[in-house]
């Protein structure tokens, strides 16, 4: 039996009161709920405040470049499909610098989970607008307000027919842990976008602001209905549906390319006979 203690307890470099703390708690809890030991899990992150998370628990970790957690995670999963691979990073990392990989990950549907700490701001670089910052959001870099429309990751994921799309709230750890556990269990690419307050740089989307707006989807909701999911995703921000908003049963990438899970590529050595046959073809 895996317990929370297996995942350890570490000092962090986050600001007191930050939404990252409950997310860390939820992640650990989800791993325990999934009965995964630290050895079975690989966290891949980028650079940012969120991206530091994997340093604060016990697991295999690859903390790579800003914006590039998804490609590293994809390569890792293809090399060892037996690992539970979790990419975890910020909104800037995944929807800004890494936007192109986000689109590709949705298209590929590799069996892994993407957890986005969506604080709607670039935290680590001190508060510039991020792709999810509201229009008009004022920062030092956008003193006249962010002139661009915010990116809606949920809506884009649903319209692109992502395997599993959930939105959670850092202020509801129980609910969030459950979402993450379900995302891990899903066979295919899973997105968990987390509404995360940043107490240092986002004075608009605070814990209270979210608390007033977050609405759990209820049991009657059918997450396999793409149009209904889009309706939720495209709602005005006066109500923010949280929960599993969409899912489907697209076969994962590994299946489509015929990767055998029991037989990760990294174990192989060059098969001399096969090589000889290949060479023969060039005679």
């Amino acid at each position: 039996m895996v317990t929370l203690a297996d995942y350890g307890n570490y000092e962090t470099a986050w600001c007191p009161g930050c939404g990252n703390f409950p997310i860390l708690k939820a992640v650990k809890k989800a791993l325990v709920m999934s009965n995964l030991s630290p050895q079975e899990v690989l966290f891949v992150s980028g650079i940012g405040q969120a991206a530091k998370l994997p340093h604060y628990l016990n697991a295999n970790v690859f903390n790579g470049l800003h914006g590039r957690s998804l490609p590293v995670a994809s390569g890792a999963k293809l090399a060892n499909p037996r690992l539970t691979v979790i990419a975890e990073s910020g909104d800037g990392c995944n929807y800004g610098e890494g936007g192109n990989h986000f689109l590709a990950a949705l298209r590929r549907n590799i069996d892994m989970t993407l957890i986005v700490h969506d604080n709607r701001v670039y935290g680590l670089t001190k508060g510039q607008a991020s792709p999810t910052s509201p229009e008009g959001f004022v920062t030092k870099a956008q003193p006249m307000g962010n002139p661009s429309a915010p990116f809606n990751p949920i809506a884009v994921a649903i319209v692109m027919n992502a395997g599993f799309v959930a939105r959670g709230f850092a202020g509801d750890t129980e609910h969030l842990a459950d979402l993450i556990a379900r995302a891990i269990a899903h066979r295919g690419f899973s997105l968990v976008d987390i509404l995360q307050p940043c107490v240092s740089f986002n004075r608009v989307n605070t814990f209270d602001w979210y608390r007033e707006r977050c609405r759990k989807v209820d049991d009657s909701y059918d997450p396999t209905d793409q149009r209904a999911a889009l309706d939720l995703a495209l709602r005005d921000e006066d109500a923010l549906p949280i929960g599993v908003l969409y899912r489907n049963a697209r076969p994962p990438f590994e299946e489509k390319i015929g990767l055998k899970p029991g037989d990760p590529p990294y174990r192989h050595v060059c098969d001399a006979e096969a090589f000889e046959a290949v060479i023969g073809g060039y005679e």
Partner: protein, 564 residues
């Protein structure tokens, strides 16, 4: 007999490469030696492309200089290649656009078959003139197309060949074309180009994952891997961009799969941050770069050696790397396999640097053999405590483990890190980690390939060259020696790191050293000076998009001589 060069040319889309390969393979199976170069434009149909086959009964290594037999499938071919024709060269063309003249053979291709069979007819006519037998050509066609076409189509092709052969045979006497001398076939040989040899080298070394974004002239490295992916159990994925490709390869390699990427200069530019990541996380990574002329998009289908300094310094921060620059098809294979070994031994990025000429150049070589896996790293495990991915060791190399394989948790970090792999801002540790990474250069040096020498022992003229120019320089040296000059060459098939002991005595004793490079600024000569202080003051450079050839080099030498 001296080597002769056949040039098959015409519009893109006319199937030049198909008959070029078929003709090459036929010659190889008959025991001849070949060197192929391909010249093509950045378009799919139209324009004008050419497939050159230099052929000889003896071993040859240099790309062709002039055309002895031009087999043109379009009217423009005659005009476009006029300057390249040898004085006694032959032109084979369609009777419909034939010019009058000696050594022009006007072939009534339309009589042999419809338009789509033009290339097959040209193959047959050429083969017949060169002395290939009808039955042999038939078997070549069955062999090559038997699996790709239905039986009826194959028969149609054979009928065309039959007619063409008959046409030639009937007037062979009148034509007076001198066929190739017969040679005896000895030993197994394979016909591969540089890119195929790189892919085969990777497979022989146990490559498990390949990631790429298409880019000429590197794409066919990955297409070759893909072709054999199932049999060799390789996972190859086309990435959304080059940034993804390099990061995917790093992820796969981190998990223990030998991994590679392949690209050209512009794609490599997008990978440089990833190169730095491989170095920082100490993840083995093999990067094949097939150069083409820049800057920017430049001439996407031509050749150049213009990216040496960029490959040497690509990636921010300081870290060791190795750069192989194969001179031949054999070295494409050998050094790619070695690249994987060096990458694994030094736990970082290693490069295989070629160019469009070598990438697309076929030769016949001895069959490649599977590579014995190097002994497993014998690093001591760091006790039974926590696994330290970046344990500080005397030689800077730490034990590598893979996530999920053992109880050990493997933690890698792009930030400066502790021995355990966790982010740190401890500045004294930073210093030790920099030193740890730099120390690995010694391991790379241990495994490095020294330059090769060829020619006069006490040369008056010593050429210094690297990478794909090997064959051209070697034949230039042979020609000079033939004329009584004391000429020699040093060729570097590993351009970084350099060990001056390996070559300084040669440089210092030669009367005159001439750098030969396929670029405008003599980048390797600069590197030699940086590393040794030795100034190479004479340079032969080429940057018109074509490969260096013996005649180009000899011409430049002659001009230099006049200047004295």
């Amino acid at each position: 007999m001296k080597a002769i060069t056949l040039c098959v040319c015409g519009e893109a889309g006319q199937g030049l490469v198909t008959i070029g390969q078929l003709l090459s393979k036929s010659l190889v199976r008959q025991g001849y030696h070949i060197v192929v170069t391909q010249s093509y434009q950045s378009r799919i149909r139209g324009g004008h492309n050419a497939f050159y086959i230099r052929v000889s009964p003896e071993r040859i290594v240099a790309p062709p200089d002039e055309i002895d037999v031009l087999i043109t499938l379009d009217a423009e071919g005659i005009t476009l290649h006029r300057d390249e024709m040898a004085p006694s060269g032959w032109i084979l063309c369609d009777v419909r656009y034939a010019r009058e003249g000696k050594r022009i053979l006007s072939v009534p291709y339309a009589e042999f078959g419809e338009g789509e069979f033009l290339n097959m007819a040209a193959y047959a006519v050429t083969g017949c003139l060169l002395g290939l037998e009808n039955g042999f050509m038939e078997s070549m066609i069955r062999d090559t197309f038997g699996k790709k076409m239905d039986a009826a189509a194959v028969e149609k092709n054979l009928a065309v060949v039959g007619k063409a052969v008959k046409w030639v045979a009937e007037r062979a006497q009148d034509i007076g074309f001198e066929s190739l001398p017969k040679v005896s076939v000895s030993g197994r040989r394979i016909m591969v180009n540089g890119n195929e040899a790189i892919a085969l080298g990777a497979m022989a070394a146990g490559v498990r994952c390949g990631f790429f974004y298409p880019m000429t002239p590197a794409t066919s490295i990955m297409l070759t891997l893909i072709k054999h992916a199932k049999k060799m159990e390789v996972v190859v994925e086309q990435a959304e961009d080059e940034i993804a490709a390099v990061n995917m390869a790093i992820g796969a390699s981190f998990c223990g799969a030998r991994s590679m990427v392949a690209t050209s200069g512009g794609g490599f530019a997008l990978m440089t941050e990833g190169i730095s990541l491989a170095a920082m996380t100490e993840t083995p990574l093999v990067v094949a770069v097939a150069q083409r002329p820049g800057p920017a998009t430049g001439l996407p289908t031509r050749t150049e050696q213009g990216d040496l300094e960029f490959i040497l310094h690509g990636g921010h921060g300081e870290f060791p790397r190795a750069i192989f620059a194969p001179g031949s098809i054999e070295e494409c294979f050998e050094l790619t396999a070695r690249a994987f070994e060096v990458a694994e031994a030094s736990q970082g990025p290693v490069f295989v640097l070629t160019d469009q000429f070598l990438a697309d150049s076929y030769r016949a070589v001895s069959p490649f053999e599977v590579r014995k896996r190097m002994e497993e790293s014998t690093r001591p495990e760091n006790g039974n405590g926590i696994y330290k991915r970046y344990a500080l060791t005397p030689d800077g190399i730490s034990e590598r483990r893979f996530p999920g394989e053992s109880e050990a948790l493997v933690v890698a970090d792009s930030d400066e890190h502790t021995e355990e792999g966790h982010i740190t801002e401890e500045l004294t540790l930073r210093v030790r980690m920099v030193q740890k990474r730099m120390k690995k250069l010694a391991r790379i040096l241990e495994m490095s390939v020294p330059p090769t020498f060829f020619g006069d022992d006490e040369p008056e003229t010593l050429f210094i060259c690297w990478g794909s120019s090997w064959g051209a320089v070697q034949e230039a040296v042979e020609a000079l020696r033939h004329e009584g000059h004391r000429a020699a060459m040093i060729h570097f098939s590993q351009v970084w790191p350099l060990r001056s002991d390996d070559f300084m005595d040669k440089l210092e004793t030669a009367k005159r050293v001439i750098g030969v490079e396929g670029n405008a600024t003599s980048q390797f000569a600069r590197l030699i000076r940086r590393e040794t202080g030795f100034e190479i003051s004479d340079h032969i450079t080429r940057y018109d998009g074509l490969p260096l050839t013996p005649r180009y080099i000899l011409g430049a030498v002659a001009r230099m001589e006049q200047e004295f």
